[in-house]
């Protein structure tokens, strides 16, 4: 888009942030009664809710696995969520692709051996979309899984990064996504620093990859800090005891 200054000479982005700053993150767990675990995640103007059901009996018997749990994920977008109303059907390719990526991300993070022959459902619903949707979905799903009490190898925290004027931008919003630069989404297991999701479908010179990846991973750590605090506050409220430093 011509005319928009994505990075001003003073180092400010379109929404006033600096290149390394993530958007304001607000999250809450245990928001719905029907679900076993639920969470709402807001990163800037992107609002996502996630619900987890399970472990429960596998819906389709033939898909049941004898030694681990089956993870099922569905991602839906509300019609009013983006600037243009789009009554997207649930089976359009982009939705299915994102559902698949979230499912595979969590297959790596959930200790599926603890729930053999059963199924865990993760449902994410996007209420408001302003860039970084998939990352917000993954973060919301992590909190919902923790709320449901499903054993995880580690948190999965996710953040996106772009690249403008030789500077990596962390946590890009919808406007910045529309710029012709790259849009890299990364999800990591913060304590072991392992990458579980790595997705980019634009163009970038390979020399810049390391800096953009580092920026995105730093963003993931920032988000992880907030999610960790939220989980502890939630537990404190509901259980009232928290004396160990490392859960």
């Amino acid at each position: 888009m011509a005319g928009i200054e994505f990075l001003s000479p003073e180092g400010l982005r379109v929404d006033g942030r600096r290149a390394h700053e993530i958007r304001k993150v607000q999250c809450k767990m245990g928001v719905f009664r029907q679900a076993d675990g639920s969470a709402i995640m807001e990163q800037g103007n992107t609002k996502v809710i996630a619900s987890v059901y399970g472990p429960h009996e596998v819906a389709i018997r033939s898909k049941s696995l004898h030694d681990r749990a089956v993870i099922n994920c569905q991602h839906s977008v509300a019609a009013f969520s983006s600037g243009e109303r789009r009554a997207r059907s649930k089976s359009d390719r982009r939705s299915l692709e994102i559902s698949r990526m979230i499912k595979e991300t969590f297959e790596a993070a959930i200790l599926t051996e603890f729930a053999a022959k059963s199924q865990i459902d993760i449902y994410v619903q996007i209420l408001q979309s302003d860039g970084g949707n998939m990352c917000a979905c993954i973060n919301a799903a992590t909190l919902a899984l923790i709320d449901a009490g499903i054993p995880l190898r580690d948190y999965v925290s996710s953040c996106s990064a772009g690249f403008v004027e030789d500077t990596p931008l962390v946590d890009i919003n919808y406007l910045e996504q529309g710029a012709s630069g790259p849009d890299l989404s990364v999800a990591i297991l913060p304590r072991s620093e392992k990458v579980v999701l790595f997705y980019m479908d634009s163009r970038m010179h390979v020399d810049n990859l390391e800096r953009v990846l580092q920026a995105a991973v730093r963003g993931c750590h920032d988000v992880f800090g907030i999610m960790n605090r939220t989980v502890r506050e939630h537990i404190e409220q509901h259980v009232g005891i928290l004396d160990s430093k490392d859960i």
């Binding site: 719905f32 009664r33 029907q34 679900a35 639920s38 103007n45 609002k47 809710i49 996630a50 619900s51 059901y53 429960h56 819906a59 569905q74 839906s76 509300a78 019609a79 009013f80 969520s81 983006s82 600037g83 109303r85 009554a87 649930k90 459902d121 449902y123 994410v124 619903q125 209420l127 408001q128 979309s129 302003d130």
Partner: protein, 282 residues
């Protein structure tokens, strides 16, 4: 002990409460759950509302688009409601095309808009025969705990009341519609029809605003749509256990009182939201 009894004999469990005039959650038979309304939380939509009736949560987002008024209705706009049950809402909702329940509620809302005329579709016309607003009202249920129709109607009313559209006109040169940046066009609602669901338990006890558990144990349910000024907009009962007709007036009274409470709640919320917006923009 009570938990086990509830699991093994859910109907008898409920009967023990209802026969004494209360329900397991402490409400009386005629009492509805508490309602909370939040408007304007979805900034990408022209109007939005998040409504909780007890645990049942429905969010409504309205987006206005330009449309050409059709044929003999050249001075009317359109209001198109669409309700869907998100898989997030309940373990029984399977992903896929809208279930029967969702379609029934969509149809209920569409009928309510068309036949009750609680909002004038002529107000949505920008220029007769050329341009009108089409309001797409998308409702998503996020948490399903009974009486979805009630929550959907309240969400729709709240979103319509708090919606602010930009001023629009037809550009004389291009013939296309264009909008200004200000958002001050409000929609005037003539009435506030509020739906109240009742579950009929044991063919005798009418439970107002049943939860999911109560609905599943009731032999029938019926919906009364009333407004705060005592008008009846609709009654729906499809089969199931028979309802003693002499009880209807008392159910109507409950429904009208609930409609009054809902209207004053929506009015308060919209007024507060307006004052917050005017503080923000000044």
């Amino acid at each position: 002990m009570a938990e086990e009894f509830k699991r093994i004999q859910p109907t008898e469990y409920l009967r023990r409460f209802v026969s004494q005039g209360v329900r397991p959650d402490g409400r009386s038979l005629t009492e509805s759950r508490s309602i909370s309304v939040n408007v304007g939380s979805i900034t990408t939509a022209d109007g939005s509302a998040l409504v909780k009736v007890g645990n049942t949560t429905v969010i409504c987002g309205i987006k206005g688009e330009f449309a050409v008024p059709g044929g003999d209705k050249s001075n009317e706009g359109y209001i198109v409601p669409n309700f869907e049950l998100s898989p997030v809402s309940s373990p029984h909702v399977r992903p896929g095309p809208p279930s029967e329940e969702a379609q029934v509620i969509s149809h209920f809302l569409s009928d309510l808009i068309k036949k009750s005329s609680f909002v004038n579709v002529e107000d949505l016309c920008i220029e007769a025969g050329k341009l009108a607003w089409a309001l797409y009202c998308d409702l998503v249920c996020l948490d399903s705990d009974g009486s979805l129709t009630d929550a959907s109607v309240i969400a729709l009313l709240s979103a319509l009341s708090s919606m602010r559209l930009p001023r629009a006109q037809v550009n004389e040169d291009t013939g296309l519609g264009e909008v200004t940046d200000t958002r001050d066009v409000k929609l005037q609602l003539n009435d506030f029809p509020v739906a109240t669901t009742f579950g009929l338990f044991d063919g005798v006890y009418g439970l107002a605003d049943p939860s999911n558990e109560e609905e599943s144990l009731c032999g029938a349910s019926f919906i009364l749509t009333t407004s705060d000024n005592g008008l009846l907009f609709g009654c729906n009962k499809s089969g199931g256990a028979a309802l003693p007709s002499q009880d209807l007036p008392s159910y109507m009274t409950i429904a009208v009182n609930r409609a009054k409470a809902v209207k004053s709640l929506i009015d308060t919320v919209c007024r507060d939201s307006d004052s917050i917006n005017s503080i923000r923009s000044s």
